[in-house]
């Protein structure tokens, strides 16, 4: 039996790809709201957030390509990988659903991103730290935007309450993956290059529980079955069609450019 040892370089590449994939896929999902938002102002807000994510992903992919050292462009990483090579969390690839579902997911993911990035802002890597600090400002706004909506939809009309409660009920099973850790995280954590997700799990739970309570929503059962697999490339049936739409032009016309 061959024992593969992960090098620090491979682990960092993988870690950056995971962070970037989460943001690219969720950004792509959110961009589906562009032109379809419930009101003009929210349409702009969601498209803004989608662009923020794609921007975050772009700089993370660029750094990943640099760490990999194989002279790949970030676009090659995005357009020429198949679903099994994508390492995003399953929660990011789920269809947009209704506005309540979109907001519930935004809140759960933004809260996770916020605590994760707070930890990552102390990593022992100047380039990564610079990106994290820049992105953290935007993440704080994403969290504020979604949290305020959770309060309004939860404590709003009977219909809005019912819809966002249903959204949270459907989403819980995907939240365990936020705290998934494997050899990549362990190796990097020991080098001060990654966050130990266990360190902020209780803070995350507290924020979610308190916000739901304030929004008059039922608190989640954190001990239910939790879906995993995204970090290993095992996805839901929803990722394939998303990638097909995103990648088909580039794959059909690999040499196309803007001229």
């Amino acid at each position: 039996m061959q024992v593969l040892t992960l090098t620090k370089q491979q682990a960092l590449f993988e870690y950056l790809i995971r962070l970037a994939d989460d943001r690219l896929i969720l950004g792509h999902r959110l961009s589906e709201w562009c032109g379809h938002g419930p009101i003009l102002e929210e349409d702009i807000a969601l498209s803004n957030i989608a662009l923020d994510y794609i921007g975050h992903a772009a700089s993370l992919y660029e750094y990943a390509a640099e760490i990999e050292g194989k002279d790949r462009h970030r676009d090659d990483i995005v357009y020429f990988r198949n679903d099994v090579e994508y390492k995003n969390l399953k929660i990011t690839e789920l269809p947009v659903g209704d506005y309540g579902f979109t907001i519930a997911r935004q809140f759960l993911f933004s809260a996770y991103s916020y605590f994760l990035y707070e930890k990552l802002s102390a990593v022992d890597d100047e380039q990564l730290r610079g990106m994290i600090e820049k992105h953290l400002k935007e993440i704080k706004y994403h969290l504020r935007h979604s949290r305020e909506w959770v309060l309004r939809l939860g404590d709003g009309t009977d219909e809005s309450h019912e819809r966002i409660q249903k959204a949270f009920d459907e989403l819980w099973t995907y939240t365990g993956e936020f705290f998934y850790m494997d050899e990549v995280d362990e190796l990097l954590s020991s080098e001060g290059l990654a966050a130990d997700t266990k360190e902020f799990q209780s803070e995350w739970k507290k924020l979610i529980t308190e916000t739901l309570e304030e929004a008059t929503l039922d608190a989640p059962n954190f001990n239910q079955f939790m879906a995993t697999g995204g970090r290993k490339g095992l996805h839901t049936e929803h990722l394939g069609p998303l990638l097909a739409e995103m990648q088909h032009l580039r794959r059909s016309y690999p040499d196309a450019n803007w001229e």
């Binding site: 003009l40 929210e42 702009i44």
Partner: protein, 104 residues
């Protein structure tokens, strides 16, 4: 706050808010436009997304539109015409020192 807020009764949209943006610290807030929002916090967030996403502002004010008291077009004569023939109200008959001119 402002049930009708300057809107027609059959209008089901959220209340209207006026947005003021401050371009730089110390500069005045200027009217940027208006938007719909259910309440003050969301009005502020919407203002950020609609009027300040391209580095236009360092500070924002949002005001319910129905809270603004405006002069009407009929007021134009009595309000503003008397100013037309009083050039002495403008401090333009003084020589401004060069150092001061440079700064402004």
């Amino acid at each position: 706050m402002g049930e009708n807020n300057g809107q027609k009764l059959n209008d089901t949209q959220w209340p209207l808010w006026e947005v003021f943006t401050q371009g730089k610290k110390g500069k005045p807030h200027e009217h940027a436009g208006s938007l719909h929002a259910p309440d003050a916090e969301k009005a502020l967030e919407n203002a950020r997304d609609v009027y300040a996403r391209r580095k236009e502002a360092v500070n924002l004010w949002v005001v319910p539109s129905d809270q603004i008291v405006a002069s009407s077009p009929e007021d134009e004569g009595p309000f503003f015409d008397p100013a037309n023939d009083k050039p002495y109200r403008h401090p333009k008959f003084y020589n401004v020192p060069r150092a001061v001119k440079k700064r402004s």
